[in-house]
Symmetry: C3
Subunit: 139 residues, 3 copies
């Protein structure tokens, strides 16, 4: 019996490793937003809320490029408040520098809660190389 | 140690030859359908037929969420027969519970051949974590 | 030999630590084009230019199927010159044989710089299985 008790912590550790693998996985997700459609932007906000509820500890980046950059521009985004709210909860929004140059967007208008990456797609590729899951936003 | 490093390319080559030789790989694929466009639904059915032909033993799940849930609703799907047919051949169609709640869809109208997942995107993420390949349906 | 095999995981671990540390990673990317929208085709050309600039040594395949095959048809592509130009720089464009059959496209009209795959999606799946990153083109 004593020997069993000594082994108990080990057994418990094994059990919790098993649990960790099944129920509470740690998700790392990179989403790509290319669409400038405001319906897509609103739909994305609903998805983020659902995802945050289902997996509160996930790491999530939303990479915006091309027309998708509109979601991060203070002069035209219709979800700027939500972006700030989700950013406060740890979701990262990333603006593509290449798009800013090409579309001659005003850098000063990019939402203050957004970060920057040089090339949106290459960033998404590197995340996948690091084992992150990829989800393309939009219809 | 040096000898080991010299042998490494050989060992890696043996491993990759093994891969190259196995022609009939076992594919595990998770597709995401978000679009409610019936042309997309019809196109998806054509893709499923081609995929089934090219890889009869693949494991395939089609996760439907957002407007994509329309494909699994008996009162509006234009490919209900095909969904049943492919389901009988082992392709799984999964309805997103979050979407059903948000869009206030009638659960009783979901095609009987469909299964359910709580959060569509999180399910897709978990499949990717398990090594499944991800394909986003639609244009 | 047995001892070598036992040490293999350790060696591979060392190699992968090395990779993680090196900044100029080698990217392998498979892009999927399904859209026939010429604005998407033009946007894709801009993306390819940016990607090539950010990662000159990447391996990149653009798999075209469904309406996306229009980009590779000499009688309707509006970016045929660019496709040739990028192909000369090592980017591969792949036409889907299933699509050619289904849409009864004239094989002789497929741009000479394009290659062929039997089933577009299955090819993309196999690339992912080999560790390539997946990017879906379009909005």
């Amino acid at each position: 019996m004593k020997k069993l008790l000594l082994l108990l912590p080990l057994l418990l550790a094994l059990v919790s490793v098993g649990n960790a693998q099944s129920e509470a996985r740690h998700h790392r997700i990179v989403m790509q937003l290319v669409s400038g459609d405001t319906l897509v932007h609103k739909g994305l906000m609903r998805q983020l809320r659902n995802m945050k509820e289902a997996a509160p500890d996930m790491e999530l980046e939303v990479v915006c490029h091309g027309p998708g950059m509109d979601m991060l521009m203070s002069d035209r985004s219709i979800v700027a408040d939500k972006v700030k709210e989700f950013n406060d909860k740890g979701i990262h929004f990333l603006a593509c520098e290449n798009t800013i140059k090409e579309r001659k967007l005003d850098r000063a208008q990019v939402l203050p809660s957004a970060g920057f990456v040089n090339a949106g797609i290459i960033h998404i590729v590197e995340r996948q190389e690091d084992g992150w899951s990829y989800i393309k936003a939009g219809l």
